[in-house]
């Protein structure tokens, strides 16, 4: 929910030199950049907007004060969200003292826009290597990049069978880092303090993807850690500026590739809110989306559980979890046609109605799954080794949650009631009944219990959706009908979907935390700027803090319990 008029007025009364504005979808506080730090501090401490959601920059291409920066903050107690905006030429004060998460967001802005943050402790690039000299998200950076190095295609050199026209695969590539660049980067990121610096990743089974950690080791003790991101960086935000709204859906699949449906849903809901057609979406579509994304949540949590147990040595659970996961994959494949990159939702509904037999299959899955879950818990939950490995490891207090901008199961594991499905219900979540599991100690064990319980709650939601969907006839619409096709064109393919000017921040509760989309639209077919708020990225930012003075063996425990996915971290 956006901050109310009342809160905005209170802010205006307390801090007179800011401008406040309540727009249709956002509540904005405008402030001069010189006063930014103090204003944010006051908003954080006096008004309770403690949770850091996101920070980024919009390149307006205006002659003076080219960049418009925004900070998105959340008040967990009053369930209000606020945007703080400022304008700058190329420099901003760093707010890393207020939120550590801002440190990483600022690094990203420095990397992508070349904004210089004054007072930042260690301002290095977030995704690109340190010898890279461009700022890719600036508007004057071409979509294809600067063509500098041409890589020979393997086929050309082996078979010599290139084709002509647009079908040829002789594609120019942008500059790729050499070993020297990487070596410079790794030495720039971490200054050795202890005995040995160990490269942990990117090609490592424990990192769940291509994450590159540097551990400064004193024996088994990790003295300091840094993460080198960007192994999977594809510039999704840049691509979003060049894709129509519907077509960008395809890229949301590929961000958090474990839970494509939830990302689809979050993006679709965001665009629907921007269009103002959230209420026009048929009830059936809403229920289908909710049910499918809960299935996807179980799917994603199963992958988490499997790899978590695998990391701690219990390989069998991994196979058990994948056995059930395969069933969900089969269901999703039968309904949507794809297993991983699903692209099922559409702006205004879903792509297809449920096929025959889908409800039967889901019902039989839902009936059996809790039994299986109980079996796994028998192996793990009270096992003395499992408890020893997880309790008192990676402890996060409530204050940490706010300071590091953590969301999702990580926040709930520490007892912070933060679940977008409850706080800001989208689709059918307001119509179904479910509990939010909360932990107490905020250690890995609590996060484990929370996620396991979440699977059970997801089953509850799916059951309710099933009951509802059974009563609906197959003839009911699954796509919204536009009242006036000239003004608003809602089709399955999304050709010619025009979106009014405006901005919106809306988020969905992904299995890995809050996935938010900030859309800045200047009207027309394509968004002007899309900022994705990835849950994994901010959940990962607490990792170096948690790993201080821990064992190498805890590295896998903590990483798996934070459960980041590289596709979402790097985008």
């Amino acid at each position: 929910m956006q901050a109310t008029e009342k809160t905005l007025n209170e802010i205006k009364a307390k801090i007179p030199y800011v401008d406040v504005k309540k727009e249709k979808l956002t509540s904005v506080v405008y402030v001069q950049k010189e006063l930014l730090f103090n204003v944010l501090k006051a908003i954080k401490e006096d008004f309770g907007f403690k949770l850091f959601i996101d920070h980024s920059v919009v390149d307006t291409l205006e002659a003076d004060n080219r960049f418009e920066a925004f900070y998105i903050l959340y008040n967990v107690d009053t369930k209000e969200r606020i945007l703080v905006k400022t304008k700058t030429e190329h420099a901003l004060p760093s707010v890393e003292k207020l939120w550590f998460a801002a440190k990483w967001a600022e690094r990203e802005c420095y990397d992508m826009f070349g904004i210089n943050y004054e007072g930042h402790e260690h301002l290095v690039r977030a995704f690109m290597w340190d010898t890279y000299s461009h700022y890719p998200l600036r508007k004057d950076f071409p979509l294809g990049g600067y063509e500098t190095v041409e890589l020979p295609s393997l086929n050309e050199s082996t078979f010599g069978d290139n084709l002509s026209g647009t079908m040829n695969y002789k594609r120019t590539h942008t500059y790729v880092p050499t070993l020297k660049d990487l070596e410079y980067t790794e030495r720039n990121r971490i200054k050795k303090k202890a005995q040995v610096v160990l490269n942990w990743g990117p090609l490592h089974p424990g990192t769940h993807g291509t994450m590159w950690f540097l551990f400064d080791l004193e024996g088994e003790r990790i003295v300091q850690t840094d993460v080198i991101l960007g192994q999977l960086h594809r510039g999704v935000e840049k691509l979003a500026e060049h894709e129509p709204y519907q077509q960008f859906l395809v890229y949301t699949d590929r961000m958090d590739y474990i839970s494509g449906l939830c990302s689809n849903q979050a993006w679709t809901v965001t665009v629907e809110r921007l269009l103002g057609i959230e209420d026009m979406v048929p009830l059936k579509a809403k229920y289908i989306r909710t049910m499918m994304s809960e299935l996807q949540r179980i799917n994603s949590h199963l992958l988490w559980l499997g790899t978590y147990a695998l990391d701690l040595g219990a390989l069998t659970i991994f196979l058990y979890a994948f056995k059930e996961r395969e069933k969900i994959m089969d269901i999703i494949e039968g309904i949507t046609g794809a297993r991983l990159t699903i692209s099922y939702t559409r702006i205004g509904g879903v792509r297809m109605d449920l096929p025959q037999g889908a409800l039967d299959v889901i019902e039989s899955f839902v009936k059996f799954f809790p039994k299986e879950l109980k079996d796994w818990e028998k192996i793990l939950s009270r096992n003395r080794i499992w408890v020893k490995r997880n309790k008192e490891v990676g402890v996060l207090t409530k204050e940490d949650i706010y300071f590091y901008g953590l969301t999702g199961a990580v926040a709930r594991g520490s007892g912070v009631f933060y679940d977008i499905r409850k706080l800001e219900p989208y689709d059918a979540y307001s119509m179904v009944d479910f509990d939010v599991p909360l932990g107490e100690n905020g250690d890995c064990y609590d996060r484990y219990l929370v996620r396991v319980e979440e699977m059970r709650q997801s089953i509850r939601i799916i059951e309710q959706c099933l009951q509802k969907l059974k009563t609906m006839s197959p003839n009911e619409p699954f796509m919204a009908e536009s009242g006036d096709p000239k003004k608003l064109k809602l089709t399955l393919d999304g050709i010619g979907l025009k979106v009014p000017a405006g901005e919106v921040y809306s988020s969905g509760e992904n299995p890995r935390g809050e996935l938010g989309f900030y859309i800045n639209s200047k009207g027309g077919l394509k968004p002007y700027r899309v900022k994705i708020r990835p849950g994994s990225f901010y959940n990962l930012c607490v990792y170096p803090h948690l790993m201080e003075n821990r064992y190498i063996a805890d590295a896998v425990t903590v990483l798996a319990s934070l459960d980041p996915v590289v596709g979402e971290v790097d985008r």
Binding site: Q247, V250, G337, R351, D360, N383, D446
Partner: protein, 208 residues
């Protein structure tokens, strides 16, 4: 609304008799004597569901086109339908709907009677995301996605579908699977075997 999660710690008796280990081991031994749930790929293969989004194909003109859309679009684009050839009306809507438009290369050629017919339709599937937006866009139910999923090849050339390949895939599809009902899975027996422990019983095919 809020559910606190916790788990009891082991008590003394459970600790000294290793009851936690025994419980876990009882689960694993139980599973060890249950039937396996694997499909022995590539000796055994499941049939992909009808909705599966695999390689693309062009349905051919066989009298089952969606009417009146097909005639209208053929009129509008001045295209002459050729029997057992692609239904494509060269409307470029698929290219428009594609997130990566570069992968399509479409062209039509003029016939002697002044009408058009599709002559070039290349899809570079190296770039394709298999999202199905082009299929949604196709107004005449020509472009579709088949169940071809084993697409690995030694040359990138094989990843490019030209008009002939597309028509061939389409014809095979029309013979083989087009008439199937819109069901979640088609191979009920194999799936029920896989879902043995769930006691799945799919309702018989409803051909209505």
């Amino acid at each position: 609304m809020i559910k606190k999660v916790f788990e009891k710690p082991l008590n003394f008796l459970e600790t000294i008799f290793f009851l936690d280990f025994i419980k876990g081991m009882s689960v694993t031994i139980k599973q060890a004597f249950t039937k396996t749930i694997t499909t022995h790929y590539p000796y055994e293969k499941l049939t992909a569901p009808k909705r599966f989004r695999g390689f693309f194909g062009h349905k051919t003109v066989n009298g089952l086109e969606p009417q009146p859309a097909f005639d209208e679009w053929a009129e509008r684009m001045k295209v002459e339908p050729q029997p057992s050839k692609s239904r494509c009306v060269v409307c470029y809507l698929c290219k428009k709907a594609c997130p990566v438009p570069d992968l399509f290369e479409i062209d039509g050629k003029k016939l002697e009677n002044g009408k058009k017919v599709v002559s070039v339709f290349n899809m570079n599937l190296m770039l394709c995301t298999f999202c199905g937006l082009c299929v949604d866009a196709c107004p005449v139910d020509c472009l579709f996605q088949s169940d071809i999923q084993e697409t690995a090849s030694f040359s990138r050339k094989d990843a490019i579908l030209n008009l002939e390949k597309l028509e061939l895939i389409g014809k095979v599809w029309q013979d083989r699977r087009e008439q199937e009902p819109d069901r979640i899975w088609i191979d009920d027996e194999a799936r029920e075997k896989l879902w043995r422990e769930n006691k799945l019983n799919l309702r018989k095919v409803d051909n209505a």
